[in-house]
Symmetry: C2
Subunit: 235 residues, 2 copies
């Protein structure tokens, strides 16, 4: 741990790390991996920021939550910073992940290649439909939800993807918590409530589409139809 | 438009609006809708911020990009701010959306209830597999990708969900752009490159899972096994 104050982990800093900082760490990680693939070995905070649309101060401040990673006159060593961010994110280890709900979305998640690359291994799927139990989809076996406690223990399942109908989300999430699962990624379009010992993140796909409509709608207003491109400059 | 400087739309502010601000607008919108459902008619910036883990200054600064929406001694009127944010996001209008790629993920997206609620109407699906052409899934007809230009014009399709295999994403995105689609939400785990006239957002589901593992891993280090809870305080 490179934190000079001898603190250990993110929880050692003052107060919890803002969620936005953690999101940016994921973006830094991906950009650093691109850089390494393109043959770069070091990068400055301003270069890294510029590639993602952040200031150099933002990059430095975000990383300062977790320690000192830069070298004067050099910047960051890409491979080293990749390893540090992975350690911070917990993805320097493998996570055993369960999927609950083998509908269309569940099948899509089982086939999603992006998880494995990041250290997330889907080890079991669960459903209550007897026609699906025993199926093997993308190499993952479908078990009855009643087997969750047993399989969760056997496979050391710590994270779960919740892809059940909205009406089932809360009750299934509680069963996951009871089986010792520590984190739930909820794809159902409904808010679930769990105790403090379980982390949860809700995935709202409509937010992404809304971000897209903002971008399209506001590009439009930048050059409104019928208005000459230079009109704004005259206002 | 309530901007006192008489500027029009987000593009009128100094420089582009940071992506993080737009993401937070989506979160404010959802929280305001919860508040209205719970019977609230007004809320202060500090209350709104506290519910989402942001400071009141952050809330005020974010909204100030788009105008003045608060009332002294009252705060924000929830219904009014909801309408303003929808206008800013472009979701005060209906958007005709196409899906390309009718695999498991595509089928899941066709069945996703969250889009319609936000003003996004899936009007057509496209694939190249002859066995799928002509199918009707969740009320949406599957057309051959070759019909894209014709259907896009007829249905005034402006946004598209790209759920094709990674190897096809770039070429299909180019066909969407050529058919006049203005925004692409890319679910393929690959970066696509389009001209400036098309907005695009990549959905990386592994980022969400990474955020979850951060949360679990760092809760863990806050109370490491075998270490008494007070040990950190003695360091």
């Amino acid at each position: 741990m490179s934190d000079p104050k001898g603190k250990s982990g993110a929880s050692g800093s003052e107060g919890p790390v803002p969620k936005a900082v953690v999101t940016r760490l994921s973006l830094y990680l991906r950009e650093l991996e691109h850089l390494v693939r393109d043959g770069h070995s070091t990068i400055s905070s301003s270069q890294l920021g510029a590639r993602l649309g952040f200031t150099d101060a933002q990059v430095r401040k975000d990383l300062a939550y977790f320690g000192h990673f830069g070298y004067p006159g050099i910047g960051y060593r890409c491979e080293e910073l990749i390893a540090e961010i992975k350690r911070i994110m917990g993805t320097d280890q493998q996570w055993a992940v369960a999927l609950v709900g083998v509908g269309n979305l569940g099948r899509a998640l089982l086939g999603y290649r992006g998880f494995q690359q990041r250290g997330f291994r889907l080890v079991a799927a669960f459903d209550t439909d007897p026609r699906k139990i025993g199926d093997c989809i993308e190499g993952v076996t479908v078990y009855h939800l009643d087997q969750l406690p047993e399989i969760a223990q056997r496979e050391t399942i710590r994270l779960a993807l919740l892809a059940v109908p909205a009406t089932q989300a809360q009750i299934v999430a509680e069963r996951l918590a009871a089986a010792g699962v520590e984190g739930v990624l909820n794809f159902a379009p409904v808010t679930i409530t769990l105790g403090e010992q379980v982390s949860q993140i809700g995935v709202d796909l409509a937010i992404e589409l809304e971000q897209l409509s903002f971008s399209v709608a506001n590009r439009e207003s930048a050059a409104a139809p019928g208005e000459p491109p230079d009109a704004a400059a005259d206002a």
